[in-house]
Amino acid sequence: MSLWEYANPKKFMQVSAGVLPWMAGLTGLCLGVGLIWGFFFTPDDFRQGSTVKIIFLHVPSAMMAINAWVMMLVASLIWLVRRHHVSALAARAAAPVGLTFTAIALVTGALWGQPMWGTWWAWDPRLTAFLILALFYLGYIALWQAVEDPDTAADLTAVMCMVGSVFALLSRYAVKFWNQGLHQDSTILKVGEKDPIAPVFYVPLVVCIFGFVLLFVALVLMRTRTEIRARRLSALLARERLA
């Protein structure tokens, strides 16, 4: 029994069909508890008022926007090395989800930034980096759609994802260099250091982050299942044409 057995499309469909409802339920539970707790049962910040509560959407989606790209990179590498089709399709399935998280992070950031910094948009390094990340997602999705042969598309997008990852990192440091910015540093992993996030916010925030991770996994599982079905369909059609 090897881990790679789950890369077999048939096995993947069986297992994911069983896991998906539980995953969806758990996602709903986590997000429901986390968001309601965060929105209604935490105090207003003494400086930021109730605006601070946007953190419960902003931070998890920003984290997942990056993690989704990392997951795509790993899946692309698995495809290039081991040629598991499910892996390539999972990368494809994750891209629009990642793009959506990026968009949520940008929009909630603008909504948060307006009252705090007095502007909807600032060319702050973090914001700029996310905008560039969104462009990478767009290019990746467009390449998948433009190339007709599915294996060719999988190979090309995998190469693009690898090269893109390097350049996304470079861009991240380039924009840091380019402008020092308004955005505060991330405080999530700084409990115990100076100026940490207050514990009243911390616990519901962690629940929300778990919820977003689960949401991502559930959406990717669901979309991968759709991709596998679509792939199966086109394979059947191709076979029919050939016969």
Partner: protein
């Protein structure tokens, strides 16, 4: 110098189209491939030329010995006949451009731009490229398209001369080239059988 193909399977668009292809070609031999449209002649030839990987079987050819000619001749419209040939000659380490032009009856056209050649003349130029590569194994996909009868005879003579020099040729064609000495391989028997769909299951390749 020998080309050996054993139990070869080739795929197009992720689907195996030919399987179990086997033949051997020794110096001075030619093989003509036949088969209905869509059977996978082009796919097989591209695999033999090293442009795409085989999905099964073995393909033994000496390294850097194959040159390939297909529907597109790889000509640049703004370069002259001589310049086009000289480029490919130099890329392959310097073949004899003059001799190649003479053999394919192109000497008079040497300073004409490829843009101003007729379809048949372009084809002849494309085939003259084979001579300047200096490679022994010619893999040709429908080489006689848009050639007139006289040019077909001329080309058959060039192939025969190539074989006499110890070369080899693999030609997919529908017309009779007049190469009586060439063996003929019908590809229809190697058509891949469709795998039977097993009760809604998914196999690794989805097909």
């Amino acid at each position: 110098m020998e080309m050996v193909v054993d139990n070869l399977g080739v795929a197009r668009g992720g689907l195996t189209v030919l399987e179990g292809v086997r033949f051997a070609l020794a110096a001075g031999q030619a093989l003509i491939l036949r088969g209905p449209n869509g059977v996978g002649k082009t796919t097989l030839l591209r695999t033999l030329a090293g442009l795409q990987p085989a999905v099964a079987g073995t393909l033994r050819v000496p390294p850097e010995s194959v040159t390939y000619a297909a529907h597109a001749d790889g000509l640049k419209a703004v370069l002259t006949v001589a310049e086009n040939l000289a480029f490919w000659a130099e890329i392959h380490g310097g073949g004899d451009v003059q001799a190649a032009m003479a053999e394919m009856n192109l000497t008079e056209l040497r300073d004409r731009r490829a843009a101003n050649l007729s379809a048949g003349q372009k084809r002849r130029l494309g085939l003259a490229r084979l001579l300047v590569t200096g490679r022994p194994i010619w893999v040709l996909d429908e080489p006689t398209v848009s050639l007139d009868q006289a040019s077909v005879t001329l080309f058959a003579g060039v192939v025969r001369a190539h074989l006499a020099r110890g070369g080899m040729a693999l030609i997919a064609t529908h017309i009779d080239l007049g190469l009586e000495e060439a063996a003929v391989l019908d590809l229809a028997p190697f058509k891949a059988r469709m795998p039977v769909a097993s009760g809604g299951g998914f196999d690794e390749a989805f097909a």
